[in-house]
């Protein structure tokens, strides 16, 4: 399964970003082959609707779950309509959360 985490930097040991729609980067993690990929958030400087844009982008990339602290109303709507679940991060870094997700240890929010 492909999951996404908002990230502060393009590194596995980076922190999970506190924002979703305006996070600097997204980490795309594939639980099948444990691969990490980092993308720039295309909505970082959007004049509006950043959450909608980033959520659509993740949906287009085949993401099935998102691990994030906070997701705004509009982004939530796009994620849910695309059947993407949201999980609460358990620890600070990208890699710790990615592996916790793979082990089924994260709490599903919606």
């Amino acid at each position: 399964m492909i999951i996404a985490l908002p990230a502060d930097q393009k590194r596995q040991d980076a922190m999970v970003n506190g924002q979703f729609g305006r996070a600097r980067y997204f980490c795309i993690y594939d639980t099948d082959d444990q691969s990490y990929q980092f993308i720039d958030n295309p909505a970082i400087s959007a004049p509006g609707g950043a959450g909608v844009r980033s959520a659509s982008e993740l949906a287009n990339l085949g993401v099935r779950s998102v691990v994030a602290y906070h997701v705004g109303d509009n982004a939530l709507r796009v994620l849910q309509r695309n059947g993407i679940s949201i999980y609460r991060p358990q620890s600070a870094t990208i890699e710790a959360n990615a592996s916790a997700f793979a082990k089924g240890q994260l709490v599903k929010l919606v």
Binding site: A46, P47, G48, V52, A59, N74, R77, V78, R81, N82
Partner: protein
């Protein structure tokens, strides 16, 4: 004649000055154009109030025509259209009503419907017409409401006082569009001075004759007086930083109606404004 009251910084006393000017001047019309946070009606408490909804256009997508090409989504800078679960979905609160999606749709699947943006209330307070715009929470821009407010007062012969939004951005620029004069309400603080300078720039760029009223004036600094002198701006008057005024104002009372002395002072301010307006029209006389 339209007199716009603006200030840059919020909380300097735009509403205080415009409400009291309106109340002091015979038959004057008061317009609260600060549609994001209108508070003029807390003072005027108008009677016979009539409310009208103001709408804006947002797209609606005919799913039977839409082939999910996503051209509308790619066009929209505000990301108000998203591809969700095999259909295109509109987010009306993000839409800026530009109509572009309708133009770029190759399948002509997009039409427009009304979306409530806010309202305008109009009533009377004694001899005064009073109007106020109200923007609905979650809406991006109150400019269409400000435009409607200005239309409602463009033909009147009575003096109109426009209680403008704070700042110096688009809503303020729209509010002063038809103004004959700008009253800049200044607060003698460093922050107040900074924002006063921005709004002064705006008045200059829009070629609006303008002058300054100091509100909450104290004797311990001359920040605004020095600014007026430095820039060659007329100072119309000073309203003191006074406990009694503040107390009456915070009780929602109109000072010009509570005290005849203050009514006279606001009338005098109005006559000084008129002098400035006529001087701006005929600088040689």
């Amino acid at each position: 004649m339209q007199i716009a009251v603006l200030s840059g910084k919020g909380g300097t006393g735009k509403t205080f000055v415009s409400v009291n000017l309106s109340a002091a001047v015979d038959n004057a019309v008061y317009v609260d154009a600060d549609v994001e946070e209108p508070n003029g009606f807390l003072f005027f408490r108008p009677e016979k109030t009539v409310e009208r909804t103001i709408n804006r256009k947002v797209p609606i997508i005919d799913e039977s025509r839409c082939d999910l090409c996503q051209e509308c989504m790619k066009f929209c800078r505000y990301n108000a259209i998203a591809y969700v679960g095999k259909k295109m979905e509109v987010f009306p609160e993000l839409c800026h009503s530009c109509g572009g999606c309708q133009l770029v749709c190759p399948r002509k699947a997009i039409t427009e419907i009304d979306h409530p943006l806010g309202s305008i209330k109009e009533g009377v307070h004694g001899e005064h017409r009073v109007l106020s715009g109200f923007l609905r929470p979650n809406e991006q821009s109150g400019i269409p409401i400000i435009k409607e407010l200005l239309k409602l007062v463009e033909k009147t012969d009575a003096p109109v006082f426009l209680d403008c939004p704070p700042g110096s951005g688009c809503p303020v620029i729209e509010s002063v569009a038809a103004a004959d004069f700008c009253v800049l309400v200044a607060e003698p603080t460093v922050f107040g001075l900074h924002d006063l300078d921005m709004v002064h720039e705006l008045a200059k760029i829009r070629n609006k004759p303008h002058a300054i009223i100091i509100n909450k004036a104290t004797d311990d600094n001359r920040l605004i007086e020095d600014y007026c002198k430095d820039k060659g701006i007329k100072l119309l008057g000073r309203i003191p930083f006074d406990r009694e005024l503040a107390s009456m104002n915070s009780d929602g009372k109109i000072i010009a109606e509570q005290s005849s002395a203050w009514k006279d002072r606001f009338k005098e301010l109005y006559f000084r404004i008129l002098e400035e307006v006529s001087y701006a029209a005929n600088p040689d006389s």
